[in-house]
Amino acid sequence: MIEFAVAVGFAAVGLGTIFCLIRLALGPDAVDRALALDTLVVNAVALIMLLGIAQATAIHFEAALLIAMLGFVGTVAFCKFMLRGDVIE
């Protein structure tokens, strides 16, 4: 039963990633692309957690946490650059 749910989860997160990539390519403004990248990062965290459940190991959590942190810092840096024209003033 869990194997089925994990397979469905992989398919769903992959579908969401495709949606984010389409928005990343379409995005009329740079803000849309930053939002798409932020959502891609969250999808990547979900994908890594699903991989951890599928392989029944706990070694992927640090990678997921690092990716979540880097995604947040990246989004804030993008927004700061769009707001002020500079990341660190």
Partner: protein, 138 residues
């Protein structure tokens, strides 16, 4: 995967949480793709994807609790981090959108020379002519 070790109820609980999380992730990304304006698109990822990742993380916590009998806290750490950072990044993105879109006809004037989304140092300066700090006079 050691599904035989799981009690039936735990397996059902993990499955339901995984399916709910996957559903919310798809809904969030679909909302990001199809909603018409940026402010509407902001809702999909920041709410639904956080719910979805939260569901998958709780499912992972329960999975390792039932299979290995230990309570792992890493997932709670990721959940806490995502719940703390999702509003901040959404706020920053909305601010950047207001700054770039220049919706002069849709938002009221700020009454300042700068727009809605930029910091105005002169408005919040308690000592504009540097009378208190002559060494920092312009």
């Amino acid at each position: 995967m050691s599904g035989a070790l799981l009690p039936w109820l735990g397996e059902l609980l993990v499955t339901v949480l995984l399916l709910a999380g996957s559903f919310f992730i798809v809904v969030g990304s679909w909302g990001l793709l199809r909603l018409p304006t940026f402010m509407q698109r902001l809702h999909g990822p920041t709410k639904a994807t956080t719910l979805g990742v939260g569901g998958i993380l709780i499912a992972s916590m329960l999975f390792f609790l039932f299979t290995e009998g230990r309570l792992s806290v890493h997932e709670l750490l990721i959940t806490l981090f995502l719940f703390l950072t999702a509003p901040v990044s959404a706020y920053m993105l909305a601010k950047a959108h207001l700054h770039r879109a220049r919706l002069d006809e849709e938002v009221p004037p700020t009454g300042r020379p700068v727009g809605w989304a930029t910091f105005d140092p002169a408005a919040s300066d308690p000592d504009p002519d540097r009378s208190l700090r002559p060494d920092r006079a312009p």
